[in-house]
Each structure stands twice: as structure tokens, then as C-alpha cells.
């Protein structure tokens, strides 16, 4: 019964439907400019924690990000780009989530612990060469689902911490989620670090499996 439902759901559907492809590729220019303009803003005060009480755990106080990573020319330019494109990046994410929810795409993409946790561990063991064979994979493997789901959580943390920095008084209740203005600022940068890590692993995996790029461009064969 369940198996029939599953078959019906994906019948005629491509591995990467057009809306997923569109939102995926829109992320590329949007994220590049968001990261560049964000680093431009960060360069104006490349430290974490309030004046006179910098966070001891952050090792790079006073070290601005390199110029070639920045976008916007100067602080005001960086701010304008960041606050302009943030709307489109959020909108892009909302469209993606609505599509996933309404078309049932989340079933094959989102990490569900009871289904994916064991497989994710086995897959990790395989990548670490602790296991010789990869676990059986259906649409995505458990580790992929974990990665693609965690990036949604990271995106949410970036949006909330970003708003908390943007309007620390008007949206004070958001700031209190992160331990205040400077806490939100630290979370916002930490999120960038995790995003960079995700992207690095993502690009590495895509380089190892280049056919995935083609699928993300054409959508792949219909099921």
C-alpha cells in the first residue's frame, strides 16, 4: 500500500523539478553577493564581542577578511547590497520551502532520523574508509539528507541573527534568542563559517560525481 503511494507520487517527476533547479541556481549569485557584502561589513569591525569585552574564544580579532572576498567597495556599499539582496535570498528560500512542502518533495530530501540516521552513520563510515561498501541508497543517502536539511536550519539561524543585528532595539526579542546584539553577530558569522564548510564539501562531492551537475541543470529523466 505504502509502496504504491510512493510510486504514484514520483511518477513522471524529474529528479530535480524546475523550481528546485531555479531556486538552487539563484542561490549562487545571491549567496556570492551576500557573503561578499557581509564580509565587507564585517571588515569595518573585524572582531566579535562588545568594545572592551571581546570574546576570548574568537582567535582572529583585528584581522579583516581579504579584499578579494569583499563586495560593495566600502561599508555603505556593502550594507546596501546586503540589505537589498537579503530580501531576494529569503524569498528564494521561502519559495523552495513552499514547493517542497506542497509537492511532497521533502519526503525524499529532508532528514528523518528514524529513516536516515543509521544510513547516515554507515555512509560516513564508508567515506572515512571504515567500511568497504556503501549502504544501499535510494534517492539521496542519509548523509546527504542530513547536509541538505542542516543547511535549512543554518539559513534560518542566519536570517534570525541577521535581523537581530539589523534592528537590535525594535526586534530586541530576536536578539535575546542569541544573547543580545553581539551574540547575534557571533552567530551570524558562525553561520557563514558553516555555510562555507557546506559549500566546500558540496563542491567536492559534485566534483567527484559530476553527473549531479547535469541533473541539476536538466532535471534528469522523468521517473
Amino acid at each position: 500500500m505504502e509502496a504504491t503511494d510512493r510510486d504514484e507520487r514520483w511518477k513522471g517527476r524529474r529528479a530535480q523539478p524546475w523550481l528546485i533547479r531555479l531556486t538552487h541556481w539563484l542561490n549562487v549569485p545571491l549567496l556570492i553577493i551576500m557573503v561578499g557584502s557581509g564580509l565587507q561589513i564585517f571588515a569595518a569591525y573585524p572582531a566579535l564581542g562588545p568594545r572592551g569585552a571581546l570574546y576570548g574564544w574568537y582567535p582572529w580579532h583585528g584581522m579583516p577578511p581579504p579584499t578579494w572576498l569583499r563586495f560593495g567597495g566600502w561599508l555603505a556599499g556593502g550594507r546596501h547590497w546586503h540589505f537589498a539582496l537579503s530580501w531576494f535570498l529569503v524569498l528564494n528560500g521561502v519559495v523552495y520551502l513552499i514547493y517542497m512542502a506542497s509537492r511532497g518533495e521533502w519526503r525524499r530530501r529532508i532528514f528523518l532520523p528514524h529513516r536516515d540516521a543509521r544510513q547516515a552513520i554507515l555512509m560516513l563510515a564508508y567515506y572515512l574508509r571504515l567500511r568497504r561498501v556503501a549502504p544501499p541508497i535510494d534517492f539521496y543517502n542519509g548523509l546527504q539528507r542530513l547536509a541538505y536539511s542542516s543547511i535549512i536550519v543554518i539559513a534560518l539561524a542566519e536570517i534570525l541573527s541577521g535581523l537581530a543585528i539589523y534592528k537590535p532595539v525594535q526586534l530586541w526579542w530576536l536578539g535575546s534568542l542569541f544573547g543580545g546584539y553581539d551574540g547575534a553577530r557571533a552567530v551570524h558569522l558562525l553561520g557563514l563559517g558553516l555555510l562555507a564548510l557546506f559549500t566546500a564539501v558540496h563542491l567536492m562531492m559534485v566534483a567527484l560525481h559530476p553527473r549531479a551537475i547535469l541533473t541539476m541543470l536538466t532535471g534528469g529523466k522523468r521517473a
Binding site: 569595518a44 569591525y45 561599508l75 555603505a76 539582496l85 534592528k167 537590535p168 532595539v169 546584539y181
Partner: protein, 231 residues
Amino acid sequence: MPNMITRRQFVATVAAGTVLATGKTTQAQAGFLRWMGRWNERVDRLLFGSDRLAAELTPAETTLAETFPSYFISEYMPVAPASWVLKVGGLVARPTTFSLEQLQGMTRTDMRVRHHCVEGWSAVASWHGVRLRDVAEVVGAEPRAPYVAFRSFDAGYWSSWDRESALHKQTILAYGMNGAPLYPDHGAPLRVYSAVKLGYKMVKYLTEVNFLPERTGGYWEDQGYEWFGGI
């Protein structure tokens, strides 16, 4: 939302952003960013609550005075002339000149709030002075003046605000910091201090407050920083 964007506008804007990211044109940049800047300012003003107060902090949270940065644009630290007075005018019933003593004779307000610099740092100090809304009442600021401009003797540094933020309960003309009279590096003898604006909006070395019918600019605002600068 005051304004919804259409799908066509959205597509056009994203396309413009993509073109710009590759550095093909600089002409459209001003257009797109100006348009989005206007949109963000509308959101900024929508978020602003006239009655919403910033959190008052405890003495223990005060930033060590020597680590609280202070900026001026003059070549040397501006020093007030002996004849210093504050002129309050524009669309007011009674244009008035205040001496520091006169301002100190009015109801004093103390507040310890977090300072947010556009650069990203924050710091805490306590500030005392007279509420701008009290001064506005004394001079009879007219309702048809929705803007307030501040001028200084720091090489012409200035800024202009929306009336709502200027008359907010936590916007004061400060003559003291951390319990002592204002030091020259923090804007002596008088500066604007507010819990609801970014640092560059708070004009130091104050000389003039004018209630205006039209929106003007400011030292940093004219160079590209946001005019509203609310937090």
C-alpha cells in the same frame, strides 16, 4: 507591507543584480540599490515603535571609558568656543537660544543603553541630559515639521532625522556621560544621544537644532549611508 513587488519587478531586479555582480554596468547599480534602499527605509520606519524603549542596562555592563571609541571629522579635536550656545529654530513658535546652564536647569534624564555603531561594534555608557521632546515643547515645535536637523562645530558635521525618532523618550541632548560632564572627545559641551539610532546619526559638538518641513541629508548620509539609520 506598504508595497508589494510584482513578479515582473522581482525578475527584473534579480536580473539586474546578477548583471551587476559580474560588474558589467555601474549605471543600473544606483537605480537598483536606490530602489531597494527606499524599500528598506519604509520597512525601517514601519518597524520603529514610538513607544518602544531600548533596554536600560546595569552599571556592571558599562564599557571601560577608554575602550569606548569616539570620532570627529575635524583635523583636531573640536573645542567649544567660550560663547557657545544652542540655537533651536526652524518651524517653531519661539526660536530660542539656550546656554548650557539653561539646559541643565531643565528636567534631567539619565539612561544607560547600548550604543550601536554602523561599523558593527557596540559599547555601553550612561548618558544624561535633557529630552529633546522637552526642548521641542519649550520652543513650540510645529506639527507641520516632520524633520529635525542637527548642526555642529565639528567641521560642519550634521545630520537630519525623522521627528518621531527625535522626539522619542530615549533621545536626549546629552551634557554628561558616565556621571561626569561630557568630555571633548564625546562631543562636549552638548551632543545628541539616542537609543534608537546608529552612532553616526547622533551629532556631537551640537550648535543648532532645526525643525524642518523637508527632509535634508547629513555628513555621512550624503556620502551613501542610510538616512534613517534606525536600530
